[in-house]
């Protein structure tokens, strides 16, 4: 027996010694360029080598034929080669292909801006948004520095490519936010309800968006909530306008974040020169709770809820030119529940809902008015890659919306139901060309009608750095609540988008030029006797965008310019004319400079809009007057005092330029002539100072992103 074992050993040793192979070859990419550092291994052994500068390799192995080689390189698809004969071990020529499926490679950039580091085409990080001078920590304020949007200071909302404020829909984690803005008196701008540092990602689209989004004629703003810190953390903000405090912690797989805030503008308003008389300076309070739970099997549940209240009292001229008190008291509850996770290996789901309860108690000229807005929204999406080049998405959506108005014995309300279903396919036809085709169908309960919304976008890669994209689609949205209240037999207004986009980018620079055409129809038109939906309009224009983080050391700047040509025949317009919220020329320059020696970021933003039209009553022309151009230069300075303490100061409209947003006319009984006054901002110049403190188990965490 012993003999046999020894014999066997000898045979084995001899066999392996005899079988020592030398394997040589080279590794090339698809352009026949050598790959340096590719890993070549013999399966089930330690043997192998790395390719050298010329892509060549050579190594010996004790393994006996047949062997399988595996060749891999980061970013490339691994390849296996089976070798059965000794003659095959010499001068192997291996071609590796890049491991990006065409689907991953497909980026359609028409009309969209994404912030956050998850996206491949990151144009703005969340940090960029919050550190933009003049934005004062308002997401919308930062977005007006992107091409396509017009500054409308008297509103504070987003006006995108010739669309009005109601045409932008806002989503948090995919769920609708019915009232993303606070409440205010007429012609006093509002701010977004949610602070930008609640979100790690911002997706802003100014047209041509996916079939997943409905009830928005012009634009979509989708916000993704922030991940929570691993260690307990407390944030404290002390500002000239108020206080904010927050705390986060994680217990096992559940993380909690709670924050509260109180803002009151009266101290600041008592020292700033103001353009209006205030009875009660704006104040607000909020409480917010955000809970995330990660299940073991990659399922995720998030609950985001907030309560906010704000109020103000201001004297404004009524229709007879007399100063009258307007008071606003707003309460808003918002709850957002969302779940996501895998279904099998290739499919994922996202599901959830959101509820908004909003109440405005208004006192207008001693008349009491109460407006309640309730909205329930539910959504379910299933998506997955069915092959290397095709992915599919299916979804359904349901919304129940109601608006109640109550004023001195008069009570009106509008319950509305909207259902939607959609399907969308993304097809990477080739390495260079891909398209997304979708169809959305919406059903409008009250009038029992369906609306078809086909959508299509495509991209062609011209070179590694540049591509052209095209997007088109049909979009619908319901009338605004107070209009629908009056005209029950009306349903949706529509818009059709065409966008042609060219984009060039490298790591630190990006240029984009975009042409668009949007045609509106079924707009509300108030004829003499009754309202109808015979209104129509168009918006067309050119957007340019340049961003550069390279040319000037430690600096980052972007320039955006939009030309908008828009006309509408709607509401009480006697003719088709440029709407009052559209400025033809819109220019923004944003500059940020980091000065390491001062541990500071110093920034400036300059915005310019050409004049916006208003109507001079009494003449036979419509909207033919123009306000003077709007311009504002804003500066900010953030100083990192310690890792966890930041001092921040900013001045908006440094030059104190007296901007005008429009003109308001009053009847002048008995005199036959109308009086008017300009619509002006709350202040011409604004100062902001604050200290932001973070207390955390993590010592470097600071709040630069809150600025």
């Amino acid at each position: 027996m012993k003999k046999i074992v020894i014999l066997l050993f000898n045979i084995l040793a001899a066999a392996s010694g005899f079988a020592q192979l030398t394997i040589t070859g080279n590794v090339l990419d698809h352009n026949n360029e050598p790959i340096w550092g590719a890993n070549i291994l013999v399966k089930n052994s330690y043997d192998g080598a790395s390719s050298d500068e010329n892509g060549s390799f050579s190594f010996k192995t004790d393994e006996a034929l047949p062997v399988t080689l595996e060749i891999s390189y980061i970013g490339y698809r691994s390849q296996q080669i089976h070798i059965a004969e000794k003659s095959e071990t010499d001068r192997l020529s291996i071609h590796l292909v890049e491991d990006v499926s065409n689907l991953d490679n497909l980026v359609i950039t028409a009309a969209s801006f994404e912030a956050g580091d998850e996206s491949k085409s990151t144009h703005l990080s969340s940090m960029d948004i919050v550190s933009t001078a003049g934005a004062l920590g308002d997401i919308n304020g930062a977005i007006t520095t992107l091409p396509g949007s017009t500054v409308n200071g008297e509103s504070g909302r987003l006006f995108v490519r010739g669309g009005d404020a109601s045409e932008t829909a806002v989503f948090i984690d995919g769920m609708l936010v019915q009232r993303p803005y606070g409440s205010s008196a007429p012609n006093i701008g509002v701010r977004g309800r949610y602070s930008p540092f609640l979100f790690k990602g911002t997706f802003f689209s100014s047209g041509g968006y996916s079939a997943e989004y409905g009830q928005a004629l012009s634009s979509v703003l989708a916000l993704k909530t922030e991940d929570m810190p691993e260690f307990p953390e407390t944030n404290l903000s002390i500002m000239a306008v108020g206080l904010e405090a927050g705390h986060s912690r994680k217990i096992d797989r559940t993380s909690f974040h709670a924050e509260g805030s109180y803002y009151n503008l009266s101290p600041l308003f008592s020292i700033l020169p103001l353009n209006h008389d205030w009875e009660k300076e704006p104040s607000s309070g909020s409480f917010l709770l955000h809970v995330n739970h990660e299940f073991e099997n990659a399922h995720h549940l998030g609950i985001f809820s907030s309560y906010q209240t704000n109020n103000l009292g201001i004297y404004q001229r009524n229709e007879y030119g007399q100063k009258a008190l307007q008071q606003v008291y707003n309460q808003n509850y918002y709850v957002n529940v969302n779940a996501k996770g895998p279904i099998g290996k290739t499919w994922n789901y996202r599901a959830g809902g959101s509820f908004t309860f909003n109440e405005d108690d208004l006192q207008v000229d001693s008349l009491d008015l109460s407006e309640k807005e309730n909205s329930g929204f539910a959504k379910m999406v299933v998506e997955g890659e069915v092959s290397e080049s095709v992915s599919l998405k299916f979804g359904t959506e349901f919304q129940r919306y109601s608006w109640h108005q109550q004023a001195s014995g008069l009570k009106r309300s509008t319950p509305v139901t909207i259902g939607a279903a959609y399907a969308e396919a993304t097809w990477a036809v080739s390495k260079k060309f891909g398209l997304v085709a979708g169809y959305r169908h919406e059903y409008f309960g009250p009038s029992n009608v369906g609306f078809a919304m086909p959508r299509l976008s495509m991209a062609y890669q011209l070179s590694k750095a540049s591509r052209v994209s095209f997007a088109t689609g049909q979009y619908y949205q319901k009338l605004q609540a107070n209009d629908y209240l009056k005209f029950r037999d009306l349903d949706f207004s529509g818009a059709q988008h065409y966008i042609l986009s060219y984009q060039w980018e490298n790591r630190d620079q990006m240029f984009r030029a975009e042409l668009y055409q949007k045609s509106y129809d079924d707009l509300l038109l108030n004829a003499q006797s009754a309202a109808n939906q015979d209104g129509y309009g168009f918006a067309r224009g050119l957007d340019l965008w340049w961003r550069d983080r390279k040319t000037i050391k430690n600096a980052d700047y972007w320039i955006s310019y939009s030309f908008i040509d828009a006309e509408r025949l709607e509401r009480n317009h006697p003719v088709s004319a440029q709407p009052g919220f559209v400025a033809q020329h819109n220019l923004s320059v944003v500059y940020k400079h980091f000065v390491p020696s001062l541990r500071s970021q110093i920034g400036g933003t300059w915005q310019y809009n050409s004049g916006r039209p208003y109507d001079l009553p009494g003449d036979n022309r419509f909207n033919d007057q123009l306000t003077k151009p709007y311009a504002s230069l804003n500066l900010n300075w953030a100083y990192l005092y310690r890792q966890n303490i930041i001092f921040y100061a900013s001045v908006s409209n440094v030059t104190g330029r007296q901007n005008v947003f429009g003109r308001q006319f009053y009847e002048n009984p008995g005199q036959g002539q109308m009086n008017s006054s300009p619509i002006v901002p709350v202040y011409d110049r604004f100062y902001f100072v604050g200290i932001f403190i973070t207390l955390s188990a993590d010592p470097t965490k600071n709040q630069l992103d809150t600025l």
């Binding site: 291994l41 089930n44 330690y46 080598a49 891999s72 980061i74 810190p229 790591r507 470097t700």
Partner: protein, 215 residues
């Protein structure tokens, strides 16, 4: 016939034995040799070669964590020395991918957390203005986890000290206060018991470098 089948059975048994139990000395030997070679590496490309060697072993020994650890460690070193920011990111991302290993052992997990923290802190240097805030948080989180799991870990202590050192320098503060942390890390390194011949032991050299600076 009977003899033949006995022979065959024996042969198979022998082969199985060679692959399983006998692979251990072979594994140790290969690893020790490659680790020795890796520490000699100077350039990014040499570290890539080292990483490739560890990846080859890892492929053949899917149950072992050491080759994965040293592959990640090599990629980090390759990333640090890479010329272009794209290449740096690519190598560091691969290191991160490897370091995200699923493991049961806390002490091993802590070692991988140190590597992850290290990756994040190097990734900051690729784009400080944009990444500083987010990645320094991530880096500290990982090091924090490592210290929570293994409070006496000299590599975690060193990584924390070196990050604090960098931060202090950035803020123009006197970094000498942090030198104590390096002294402490060195003491931890000296009294550390190697849990196996392949256990990571790279902190000492790096600590020495900082202690020089502290003088």
């Amino acid at each position: 016939m009977k003899k033949k089948s006995i022979l065959l059975t024996l042969g198979i048994a022998l082969a199985v034995w060679q692959v399983t139990s006998a692979s251990s000395p072979k594994f140790m030997e290969a690893m020790q040799q490659k680790i020795g070679q890796m520490y000699q590496s100077q350039t990014s490309q040499e570290f890539v070669d080292a990483a490739n060697a560890f990846e080859r072993i890892a492929k053949a020994e899917p149950e072992k964590w050491e080759p994965v650890y040293y592959a990640a460690y090599s990629y980090i070193n390759a990333g640090m020395r890479a010329e272009t920011p794209e290449k740096k990111d690519q190598l560091l991302d691969r290191a991160l991918e490897l370091a995200n290993i699923e493991m049961a052992g806390t002490t091993e997990l802590a070692e991988f957390a140190v590597l992850k923290g290290w990756v994040y802190s190097i990734k900051i240097s690729v784009d400080p203005a944009n990444r500083g805030q987010e990645y320094s948080q991530k880096a500290y989180t990982e090091i924090g986890k490592a210290l929570q799991m293994t409070p006496e870990n000299p590599r975690a202590a060193f990584m924390k000290a070196s990050m604090d050192f960098g931060t202090a320098k950035f803020f123009g503060n006197d970094p000498s206060g942090i030198c104590e942390q390096f002294v402490k890390a060195q003491q931890l390194a000296e009294k550390e018991e190697m849990k196996s011949p392949l256990w990571p032991s790279w902190a000492s050299g790096a600590i020495g470098y900082y202690l020089q600076q502290c003088k």
